[in-house]
């Protein structure tokens, strides 16, 4: 004889645990098998709190993360950089670009809760996108993770008007999953995220360089090279930044390193040739650019242009012309 009451209870429990359980796989995994390296309880008390204005959770969250990294920037200034009045909100892409505009590396994290907690444990608050409501009826919101407690299965955020919002880890995973697991770090130039990987870090620094924060980009490339000393992008980036600052000798050293470690890189040879040209070492420049041209590929057109530039400064005997200061790079 089936005991219907018991059957109902079991089904009810199964349903509820399905609702709780399967829906939050990352939390489950994290709690079941915590990493030995992850502290069980962290709270970053020094992260400042900025209560958001209506719709301005983006500027508020950025203000918290940037000022925690010693930026000294106001919510109002950030609002001009990320807030879209017509959308009554801020785009994720602009959260990244505004971070860069303020001179910091904007590092999007992998969609892993363990990475978010690892970064917090390393002392950095994490900006997250949450959908507080449903997939079919969303309520998008940015908040800042500042702590967690694995034993109590809780996570601590600065969110909206709450300086200290405590959520069950499972609830947070629901909200964060619905937001596409988006999270970003604000990293001072010269430091590395705890969970950094080579490719993503370099992408982030190249993006910073593009916003012309030269000395910051230089610090970021050098930090990357300390960890990944063979990275081609970092050597070229370092050279380019030094070139842009007018330091030809240092730029030359960087491009030489790039070409030594990556002899297949036409870009390294081309840029090396350019720095030699600017130092009026035309014979060496011609050798380098010839090498770049011989490597072919997409850089060849640029290399030909560099070669033409060098040759224009030499007379028919291959000696430097008396006139003609070289055009300054732009």
């Amino acid at each position: 004889m089936i005991n219907y009451q018991r059957a109902r209870t079991i089904v009810g429990v199964l349903l509820l645990s399905w609702l709780y359980g399967c829906a939050t796989p990352q939390t489950q995994f994290l709690l079941a098998m915590p990493s030995q390296n992850l502290a069980s309880r962290v709270e970053l008390l020094d992260v400042p709190f900025y209560a958001q204005e209506l719709h301005q959770c983006g500027p508020a969250s950025l203000a918290m993360a940037l000022n925690a990294a010693a930026a000294q920037v106001t919510m109002e200034k950030l609002s001009e950089q990320v807030y879209l009045p017509g959308r009554q909100g801020s785009l994720q892409i602009e959260m990244l670009s505004a971070t860069r505009r303020n001179g910091y590396v904007a590092y999007p994290l992998a969609p892993k809760l363990s990475d978010v907690l690892a970064e917090v444990a390393a002392g950095r608050p994490v900006v997250v996108l949450e959908n507080l409501a449903f997939n079919w009826y969303p309520f998008w919101h940015y908040a800042v993770v500042v702590g967690y407690d694995l034993a109590r299965q809780e996570i601590i955020l600065r969110s909206g008007l709450e300086a200290r919002q405590v959520l069950p880890l499972k609830t947070f995973e629901h909200l964060w999953a619905r937001g596409g697991y988006w999270a970003m770090l604000v990293v001072p130039a010269g430091q590395l995220p705890a969970t950094a990987n080579e490719a993503d870090y370099m992408t982030a620094v190249v993006a910073l360089e593009k916003v012309s924060n030269l000395s910051r980009a230089e610090a970021a490339y050098r930090a990357g090279l300390q960890r990944w000393e063979n990275n081609l992008t970092a050597w070229i980036g370092l050279g380019n930044v030094r070139y842009a600052q007018g330091d030809m000798q240092s730029a030359e050293q960087s491009f030489r390193q790039a070409s030594l470690r990556h002899p297949e890189s036409a870009i390294a040879y081309n840029n090396l040739a350019q720095t030699l040209l600017e130092q009026q070492r035309y014979a060496e420049a011609l050798v380098a650019v010839a090498h770049a041209i011989s490597l072919g590929g997409d850089a060849q057109a640029a290399a030909f242009a560099t070669q033409a530039q060098i040759k224009s400064l030499l007379d028919k005997d291959g000696l430097a012309k008396e006139c003609c200061a070289i055009s300054t790079h732009d």
Binding site: L84, P85, S97, L129, F134, Q274, A301, D330
Partner: protein, 131 residues
């Protein structure tokens, strides 16, 4: 007569291209930018440069349509990487923007109250989820 028409057309073309303000400066291809290294050595062809330029112009316009003044729109577009501009172009009014107001109607209000308590959503600050 044909020659006259051709001359007019090319003049109009020139005017329209110039009015775009395209950067047709002599290619200072000397130093190759760092973003070309990471992008699998993909150098911008002239066509790609034009496309990127036009996409930026489009995003700038869309930002202004969303209520930003021209100078800010300029600065904000210039802070985006080429990849980011590509992702945003044409979609500015559709991408997720954190900060949207939840226009609550009563039935949704009750549902959200319930799911807040269950800990599946977290719309109301006054709910405390059971565990």
């Amino acid at each position: 007569m044909n020659a006259k028409i051709m001359r007019m057309t090319s003049r109009m073309l020139m005017v329209s291209i110039l009015s775009l303000g395209l950067p047709f400066h002599a290619a200072n291809a000397a130093i190759i930018g760092t973003d070309k290294v990471a992008a699998a050595a993909q150098i911008h062809t002239e066509r790609e440069r034009i496309r990127s330029f036009l996409e930026r112009a489009e995003v700038r316009q869309q930002m202004q349509a969303q209520g930003i003044d021209a100078n800010s729109a300029d600065a904000r577009v210039n802070a985006l990487t080429d990849q980011e501009v590509q992702q945003v172009a044409g979609k500015l009014d559709k991408l997720t923007a954190g900060g949207d107001v939840l226009g609550i109607i009563f039935t949704i209000f009750i549902v959200l109250l319930f799911t807040d308590i269950l800990g599946v959503t977290k719309v109301f600050p006054f709910t405390r989820s059971i565990r």
